[in-house]
């Protein structure tokens, strides 16, 4: 299968005061469709930054990101948004739910924004709510949920349109080990059954073990791409 993600000389610099700090340096990675990739590395090594660049949420200082062969930074804002809701599912380190919408409404956001009928997605919604264990709390608002529950809403939101790729930034960082394991099982299942490509950032070796590939980062560079 072809590369769903490919980067070329991807660089990201941040201006801190008057000097530029290079956070990502010439990142070159290829991720094949159907892969389950884990990115690991010390805090501050640039993992989140890389993930945001892959999702087209942030713009690189130089270099390219190709998603399904298309340069994401050449896309118009509208195309990008379509890509983000149909092809990508993003799970953030801090859950990033819309606070004044209910669990259900948050999950269905990509559906409504894609001009699809929410009625057609009721089944998927029920199924996903069942999977993430929030069927009882579908009418709750994010503030009424625990951190782990909010993270599961975010995952459900990423899954609702069955995207080709899920980008997850420490999806289980804030969860207890049991729930963490459940979510990893879930990722494993959708990766296996639906062939969804998953790229996750994690600090846990255990979680990384669910993947078939590991990318290690240090000081903004990929150190040793290892195939498991």
């Amino acid at each position: 299968m072809g590369n769903i993600i490919q980067t070329e000389k991807l660089c990201k610099n941040f201006k801190v005061g008057s000097n530029e700090v290079a956070v990502l340096k010439d990142i070159e990675i290829h991720i094949e469709s159907g892969d389950f990739v884990s990115i690991m590395g010390p805090s501050g090594s640039g993992k989140s930054t890389l993930l945001y660049l892959l999702g087209g949420i942030d713009e690189p200082s130089s270099g390219q990101v190709y998603i399904q062969g298309k340069d994401i930074n050449r896309m118009k804002d509208k195309e990008k948004s379509i890509l983000r809701r149909r092809t990508l599912g993003f799970v953030f380190q801090f859950y990033n739910l819309v606070q004044n919408l209910t669990v259900e409404e948050n999950i269905m956001l990509p559906v409504t924004m894609d001009k699809k009928k929410t009625a057609d997605f009721q089944e998927q919604l029920d199924e996903i709510l069942e999977i993430v264990g929030l069927s009882e709390r579908r009418k709750y608002t994010p503030r009424e949920l625990s951190g782990g529950q909010q993270q599961r809403v975010a995952i459900a939101r990423a899954l609702i349109l069955s995207p080709a790729l899920i980008l997850a930034d420490e999806p289980i960082g804030n969860l207890d080990s049991k729930t963490g394991t459940e979510i990893m099982e879930l990722f494993h299942r959708i990766n296996q059954e639906k062939g969804i490509t998953i790229v996750q950032v994690t600090h846990s070796e255990e979680a990384a073990a669910y993947g078939n590939r590991l990318i290690r980062m240090k000081d903004g560079e990929v150190v040793e791409p290892i195939l498991v």
Binding site: I57, K78, N100, L101, P110, T112, M113, D114, T118
Partner: protein, 836 residues
């Protein structure tokens, strides 16, 4: 302490725009409060000064009873034995004409001791030499500049068939007696000279006396006893100006209250926003050990600093602007009355206290409420909470709204307090019900649009229902909107009344100082007068159903004649039998009758009172039998007229006002007739006024009022706009993260913009709908309030103002949405997503 202050200053400077808005709001409200409070006193003082004009510091005025046709008496005939006089001034008056630069000008000649007159503050001559001899006269600065006269110039005056030459020896400021000069020329000469014009010696037409205030009543009684044939009056009651002081004060007060309410609302909502923004930061401090008290002091101090800066600047500006503002409201400028500007310490204190303490006070309340919440909630910013549609809030809102209308229905006798309360409840309930109303609107729109619209539109509609900030914005817009509407409805109503309802019931009216039938007949018989009616008016008080009110009591010879003469009076129901046969029938206004459920045949008791509303001659209330009802709205706005037979009137009531109303034949010009009357009867102190002048004066008052109100509406709008734009600005800051999330998972920036646009549109629809409904409800409840203050006339919902206000809101929303759109496109998504 120093470190706290430093933190406060840093806070204020960090958010420059916000601080400017807060300070500007406080500045404006302090300014308006101070100017508004001061204006009333200033206007009253200016008015008093103007009234004082013709009488100076004197408190008693003596004139001749004109029964014998001779208006003069000998100075020595006034018996002042046993009365401790502080000042005395004898005067004699004459009229003449002069021609200056081909213009015929009327001349009023006053003979008096100019030194004594200056002592009584009747004039204030500039070169100071008041000792007049022979043909010497004093003129006013106005006459001097208008007719280019100087000291040493001569004036030729034609009186009857004789011509006299006078020499100007002094020029007076246009104060005191010169207020009455208007278009004429007023000359002050010696008493001897004026006597000479008449061929008389040592005669006077009036005498002004000054006694101690305590001894005045006694002196009047004793003078009345010892001086038969002379009329002795208090200076203050001798002249009654047509001035709707009551209405003016009420409307001013209403305007002040409204401005204060708008400012209070804006300040309160600003403080809320500032606090919600600061709280998480302060809570973080707290979570690492800073104690509560210290944090509270920081917040409090911040608001105090805002208050001190705002109030300080506001007062400074108000001090500068007050003279100009007072000048706008000086209706007597045309009479040359200078505006008396006085800085009242109490008003100053009130305004400063409001400006400085109010923001702090509001913030304390909020701080206490926030502190009651657990630290965790404060830490995780509460402002994102979706609006909770609590059952109890809705119920209490509906109950308050219900009470507002129940009060309206119950308030049969137009009690002012109940009327104010019912209006207040309307406002409170609108604010409380706002989230529910918005939710309803959102549900309705969702139902109407049923999935046919795209996601961003759906989300926008949803946001209106759920978002606290949006509800807050609409409430703010609504309150300001309705308050301004309130001012608008009142002022247009009053304007309408004066221009449309007031009937043209005379062409020329003559005020007499006493009931002089001979004189009235003479005037009525003049050329050009087609019809005449002599009105005799007094005042009575009555208590009905526990509600005290006063009446304008008219003594009537023939009830049919009144109806025939006055368009302003329309009989509704008459019991001819009672009117003919009873000696105590009364015709009351239908407004009064309906209010108290009075029917023909019922009894009303009326207490005759004097000009100061004290029982007249210690008389007991008099019983009257209601024998008819009328609509007297064309007569006066307070609908408090009552007609009684002349017999009982003369027996029991104080004869306070006599007005001879004249209707003219088509071809005669009221102004010409007026000056003919004034000329012919120049010996009598008559006040002659044409209908147009009367209307003009009333209109003038109203116009000043409306000017004032327009200014107030304008300022209120500025304060309101400041508050609203601040709200919109903050609302963006608080929603940045929401936008970033939406962008990162599913929406393009264009879609976000569309969503914002839908929200704005719905906000606008809400303003239109709630504004209309609220405005109509307001109109109803406000009418009661205005009736309670004596403006009994129809108040209609002003669609023009409503339209203008909708327009302003539209512009405001468009401008803020455009800036929002720009901000959305510039939004740093990463920053919002990465930091909690």
């Amino acid at each position: 302490m120093k470190i706290v202050l430093k933190h406060v200053m840093k806070n204020i400077f960090e958010k420059k725009l916000r601080s400017v808005i807060v300070i500007l709001t406080i500045l404006l409200s302090t300014l308006i409060l101070f100017i508004g409070l001061s204006l009333n006193t200033i206007i009253n003082q200016t008015y008093t000064k103007m009234l004082q004009g013709s009488y100076g510091t004197s408190n008693i005025v003596v004139t001749k009873s004109t029964d014998d046709g001779n208006p003069f008496y000998e100075s020595k005939n006034l018996d002042v034995d046993g009365i401790e006089l502080e000042q005395r001034l004898d005067m004699i008056q004459a009229k003449g004409k002069t021609t200056i630069q081909d213009d015929d000008v009327n001349v009023s000649l006053y003979g008096m001791d100019a030194d004594a007159a200056e002592e009584m503050e009747l004039l204030e001559s500039v070169p100071g030499d008041n000792v007049l001899t022979g043909n010497e006269v004093i003129i006013s600065q106005r006459t001097a500049s208008e007719h280019k006269l100087e000291i040493g110039n001569s004036i030729k005056v034609v009186q009857a068939t004789n011509t006299y030459h006078f020499t100007v020896v002094a020029i007076s400021k246009p104060n005191g007696i010169y207020y009455s000069e208007m278009g004429d020329i007023l000359l002050i000469a010696t008493r001897e000279k004026i006597n000479e014009l008449y061929g008389l010696e040592d005669m006077v037409s009036s005498t002004l006396l000054k006694v101690t205030d305590e001894g005045m009543e006694e002196a009047i009684t004793s003078l009345q006893e010892t001086n038969e044939g002379l009329v002795v009056q208090k200076s203050s009651s001798a002249d009654t100006m047509m001035r709707d002081e009551q209405t003016f004060q009420t409307v001013m007060l209403l305007a002040i209250i409204i401005i204060v309410l708008i400012s209070a609302y804006v300040i309160s909502s600003l403080s809320k926003l500032i606090l919600t923004e600061r709280m998480p930061v302060l809570a973080t401090f707290r979570s690492v050990g800073a104690h509560k008290g210290m944090m509270n002091r920081v917040l409090l101090l911040e608001f105090l600093v805002y208050g001190i800066i705002g109030a300080g600047l506001g007062i400074a500006l108000a001090m500068i602007l007050l003279p100009f503002a007072a000048d706008i409201f000086n209706e007597y400028k045309q009479y040359g009355v200078e505006t008396v500007v006085e800085y009242n310490v109490i008003y100053l204190a009130i305004s400063i206290a409001f400006g400085v303490l109010f923001p702090a006070f509001i913030s304390i309340l909020r701080i206490i409420r926030t502190n009651a919440k657990p630290l965790k909630e404060v830490l995780f910013n509460t402002s994102f909470t979706p609006e909770k549609h609590s059952k109890w809030t809705v119920i209490s809102g509906i109950i308050l709204l219900g009470i507002a209308f129940i009060l309206y229905v119950v308030n049969q006798y137009n009690d002012l307090l109940l009327a104010v309360l019912s209006l207040l409840l309307l406002f409170v309930s609108i604010v409380i019900l706002m989230p529910t109303l918005l939710n309803g609107l959102s549900q309705l729109l969702r139902l109407l649009s049923r999935k046919r619209i795209s996601g961003e539109f759906q989300l926008g509609i949803k946001n209106i229902a759920n978002n606290k900030i949006v509800a807050n914005n609409v409430s703010m817009v609504m309150v300001v909107f309705l308050l301004l509407l309130m001012v608008g409805i009142s002022s247009t109503g009053i304007d309408q009344y004066v221009t449309k309802t007031l009937s043209k019931d005379f062409d020329v009216a003559v005020s007499l100082t006493e009931k002089n039938l001979g004189l009235a007949n003479d005037i009525s018989g003049m050329d050009g007068v087609s019809k005449s009616y002599l009105q005799t008016i007094s005042i009575g008080k009555s208590t009905m159903n526990g509600v005290a009110r006063s009446f304008g009591v008219y003594g009537v010879e023939d009830f049919d004649k009144v109806d025939e003469f006055y368009d302003g009076i329309r009989y509704i129901d008459l019991d001819e039998n009672r009117l003919q046969n009873l000696d105590n029938p009364i015709i009351v206004d239908i407004y009064y009758a309906e209010q108290h459920g009075i029917e023909i045949g019922d009894t009303v008791n009326i207490q005759p009172v004097d000009i100061n509303y004290e029982p007249f001659n210690d008389l007991e209330p008099i019983e009257f039998i209601v024998s008819g009802t009328m609509d007297s709205s064309g007569f006066g706005s307070s609908r408090d007229s009552a007609l009684i037979p002349m017999g009982i009137y003369e027996e029991q009531f104080a004869g306070l006002f006599y007005e001879l109303a004249l209707k003219l034949e088509e071809e005669f010009n009221p102004d010409e007739v007026k000056s003919r009357i004034a000329d012919t009867y120049s010996n009598y102190s008559l006040e002659v006024i044409t209908f147009d002048e009367m209307l003009g004066a009333q209109k003038g008052t109203i116009d000043t009022l409306i000017d004032g109100i327009t200014i107030i509406i304008g300022l209120g709008m500025i304060v309101g706009i400041l508050g609203i734009s601040n709200n919109l600005m903050v609302s963006f800051n608080q929603r940045k993260k929401e936008y970033a999330v939406l962008y990162s998972v599913c929406m393009s920036k264009m879609q976000i913009v569309k969503m914002v646009f839908v929200e704005t549109l719905i906000t606008f629809i809400a303003v239109i709908i709630i504004g209309l409904l609220g405005g109509l409800a307001l109109n109803l409840l406000l009418t009661k309030l205005l009736h309670a203050v004596g403006m009994v006339t129809e108040f209609r919902f002003t669609f023009e103002l409503y339209g203008i206000l909708c327009g302003v809101v539209a512009i405001l929303l468009i401008v803020s949405t455009l800036s929002l759109v720009r901000k959305v496109f510039q939004l740093n998504i990463m920053k919002e997503l990465r930091y909690e």
